[in-house]
């Protein structure tokens, strides 16, 4: 692919990709590989970040099995399951957006991304409802804990884990939504084409990670 030629726009999108950075000149395939590989490595670091929290969860669960049982029963299974479905579906629409962008169908990709962002927003709203409920009940971490329905020792600890894990995850949802917004805008401007769709792919990968982490959090917090 000639990198220097001007970028021509058609109804489907740009035909030529943006120029390959100078140090990859003559080897756009390697650059593409680099971008994708870099993203995967970054996702690995994210997984390790959460892995540390899961270890914390495991330790405190063994320390306070009863409190964790009781607390899990106080979480709304309905809201949790709804959120899981929301995220799973949004992962699907993001994957479809990626597919469309790859084939230069920028408009389709745009709408699909919009739907995904909306579902992310829905997830956050439901999370907010859950948080409000917790604040009302006093089911809070550490020394803020004032929830009478958990009698076994270790209740405050459950909520430390709960708020830390879901809070960190919510932060990731927000970052993921911003990324999706950014690529959606670029879709609107028809920037992607069969030779250039890495931003959609990477934002999508990030969103799948957000989903994946939730797939772990959901059973640990709500089901077990």
């Amino acid at each position: 692919m000639e990198a220097t030629s001007a970028r021509v726009m058609t109804a489907e999108g740009y035909l030529a990709p943006p120029p390959t950075p100078h140090h990859y000149e003559g080897n756009p395939a390697a650059h593409k590989h680099a971008v994708r590989f870099g993203m995967w490595l970054f996702l690995a670091t994210e997984i390790l970040l959460f892995a540390g929290l899961f270890v914390g969860y495991a330790v405190f669960r063994t320390d306070f099995p009863e409190a964790f049982d009781q607390a899990a029963r106080h979480l709304s299974l309905f809201l949790g399951t709804t959120n899981t479905l929301l995220l799973l579906t949004s992962s699907l629409t993001v994957a479809l957006a990626h597919h469309n962008a790859e084939h230069g169908k920028n408009r389709n990709a745009f709408w699909l991304l919009l739907v995904s962002i909306a579902m992310g927003g829905g997830f956050l709203c439901i999370k907010a409802i859950e948080y409000t409920e917790k604040f009302r009940e006093g089911a809070l971490p550490g020394r803020f804990f004032a929830f009478s329905e958990i009698t076994a020792p270790g209740g405050p600890m459950f909520y430390v884990v709960y708020f830390f894990a879901t809070g960190l995850h919510a932060l990731h949802v927000i970052v993921g939504m911003s990324l999706l917004t950014w690529v959606a805008i670029r879709c609107w401007h028809k920037e992607f084409s069969p030779t250039h769709y890495a931003p959609v792919e990477n934002a999508g990968l990030y969103w799948h990670l957000v989903d994946l982490v939730w797939i772990f959090l959901y059973p640990l917090l709500y089901l077990v």
Binding site: L41, G142, G154, P156
Partner: protein, 554 residues
């Protein structure tokens, strides 16, 4: 090296190239916003050197205070802040970025025949993250006066009146920088090798950086999480690590060492890579057991992840865990031993020139084996019960971190100085300071092994009188060490401007980085080289190859 060697071998005085990365843009902006990996390396170098100076000053304050058993020059609280400052600055600000971010940034692309790293912009971001984190941590420590030690053990760190928040945030931000650098290196090595450079023709420094980068990427997120948890805990009193609230202080130790033990290999692996390069260059010999050295870098990186529990032998850990962590620690020792034996094998039948870097190589070998074997001694569970948290441990890690890693850093600094700046330094002074440093080093830290044996705990502001003689010896030794470093700073500073012009390859090295002019052009190579021979090949065949002239000092 004598200054005449370079020009004489070239058959005429070497000329300083007209265009190179240093004069390609001279505005402040062209430095501070540069995307050139070589300039970013120099940005790192300047901050890293300032950090080392600061850390060294704190060390000298510590040593002065310990001259007498009672209070000497500072108060207890100041002392406690001082070793915290010293540890945090030396580890997070100096040693972790030192070799990878300086020499790695500068030479990794050149050594694989690339024009830059994979993501130059992220590279600059990484520098500024490091800089911001360093400033934040320093400010926090000087301002709030953190007094927890660099290990931040809970519940002390979450209950102490001294603020730890900014320091933890600083460490967190520096962690991000470290991750970005590692990620960049891995991707660069995978995607930017020039045609002809296969995996098994990579210089060993690159293998070492590769192993390092894997650890950086996989271990650092955990320290990020720990920093966040401790920060949240000291701000809101969540109680994650606070036993009074059902938390678990030992969990903190596990998470902390899960990062910090692999982190010691982030420090030592790059230094090992430097030694592989320099030992081959100064003995003009192919690396003995190239693949064993390369593989053991990966071996250390991998096994190093599972040894963290050897810092917890006295914490009430179960005997089974202790045994498992001990055996794994010993496996790391075996991988290191492979390297040591192969380096010594490299000298066999070589053509060795005694230069200042070679003196550092000899120092490195001795200190690494002694420091490493005392590490194994510490991992021998029953012995650690006596030594844990005594000066024996302090001596162990200074033997590796000052003894081995700084020797590696200095060997690299002297070896690559002509390449980076195009000039050579004064060999005589270099040998004098090398001698002072090796001597001063032994005088500083051998007494500390004995102090540990005698039972002096670390982080002691005051100590029983029976420990005084050894402390005086150690303080005396440390002043020799300081003089040695100051001499280096002077003659290298002088050489930057007034040193004789080096020419492209003053050492007659066959490393790929010597195939380009010194200092290199911004694009790294004027003429795209071909890589017909492996990087450490000094056989008749390779040196005489007319197509491959770089080893001739032209």
């Amino acid at each position: 090296m004598s200054s005449s060697a370079s020009s004489a071998a070239a058959g005429g005085p070497a000329v300083f190239p007209e265009h190179h990365y240093l004069n390609n843009g001279t505005t402040v902006r062209s430095w501070l916003l540069t995307l050139d990996h070589k300039r970013i390396a120099l940005l790192y170098l300047s901050v890293v050197m300032v950090s080392f100076l600061l850390g060294g000053i704190f060390a000298m304050v510590i040593r002065l205070e310990l001259l007498t058993p009672g209070p000497t020059i500072i108060e207890a609280l100041t002392y406690n802040r001082m070793f915290t400052l010293h540890g945090v600055v030396m580890i997070f600000l100096f040693m972790i970025p030192a070799i990878p971010a300086v020499f790695g940034n500068f030479f990794l692309p050149i050594m694989i025949g690339a024009k830059d790293v994979a993501f130059p912009r992220w590279n600059l971001v990484s520098f500024y993250l490091y800089f911001a984190g360093a400033v934040l941590a320093l400010w926090g420590m000087l301002n709030g006066g953190t007094d927890t030690g660099w290990t931040f053990y809970t519940p002390y760190s979450t209950t102490t009146a001294q603020g730890v928040l900014p320091v933890l945030l600083g460490v967190f931000v520096i962690g991000f920088s470290s991750i970005l650098t590692g990620l960049n290196f891995i991707v660069t090595i995978h995607t930017l090798r020039a045609p002809g450079i296969t995996w098994f023709k990579l210089p060993l420094f690159i293998w070492a950086l590769y192993g390092t980068a894997i650890i950086q990427v996989l271990a650092t997120p955990v320290i990020g999480l720990v920093a966040m948890l401790v920060a949240a805990e000291s701000a809101f009193g969540f109680g994650f690590f606070d036993p009074a609230r059902g938390g678990d202080p030992v969990l903190f130790q596990h998470l902390f060492w899960f990062y910090s033990h692999p982190a010691v290999y982030i420090m030592v692996l790059p230094a090992m890579g430097v030694i592989s390069e320099t030992i081959s260059a100064y003995s003009r010999k192919n690396i003995f057991g190239y693949s064993m050295i390369a593989a053991s870098s990966l071996g250390i990186a991998f096994v190093g992840f599972f040894a963290w529990g050897h810092h917890l032998f006295t914490s009430g850990q179960s005997a089974f865990d202790a045994g498992a962590f001990a055996v794994i620690s010993m496996l790391v020792g075996v991988f290191t031993a492979i390297k040591v034996f192969n380096w010594v094998g490299t000298l066999y039948k070589g053509a060795i020139a005694f230069t200042a870097p070679y003196a550092y190589i000899c120092g490195f070998l001795f200190f690494l084996v002694f420091g490493g074997m005392t590490g194994i001694a510490l991992a021998t569970v029953s012995l650690d019960i006596h030594w844990q948290d005594t000066y024996f441990v302090v001596a162990h890690f200074h033997f590796i971190m000052v003894g081995a890693v700084i020797m590696g850093f200095l060997a690299g600094l002297h070896y690559w100085f002509p390449k980076m700046f195009g000039r050579t330094y004064h060999e005589g002074w270099a040998l004098v300071s090398a001698a002072l440093i090796v001597l001063g080093f032994n005088a500083t830290f051998i007494p500390q092994f004995l102090l540990g044996n005698a039972g002096m705990p670390r982080r002691y502001y005051e100590y029983p009188e029976r420990f005084q003689a050894l402390n005086v010896a150690s303080t005396a030794g440390s002043s020799l060490l300081a003089i040695g470093f100051i001499i280096i700073a002077i003659y290298l500073g002088f050489a930057l401007k007034y040193g004789p012009v080096a020419g492209p390859n003053p050492w007659g090295s066959r490393g790929y980085e010597w195939m380009t002019p010194s200092p290199p052009p911004t694009e790294n190579f004027d003429v795209t080289p071909t890589f017909a021979h492996p990087p450490h090949d000094y056989t008749e065949d390779a040196v005489g190859d007319p197509d491959f002239a770089h080893a001739r000092t032209t």
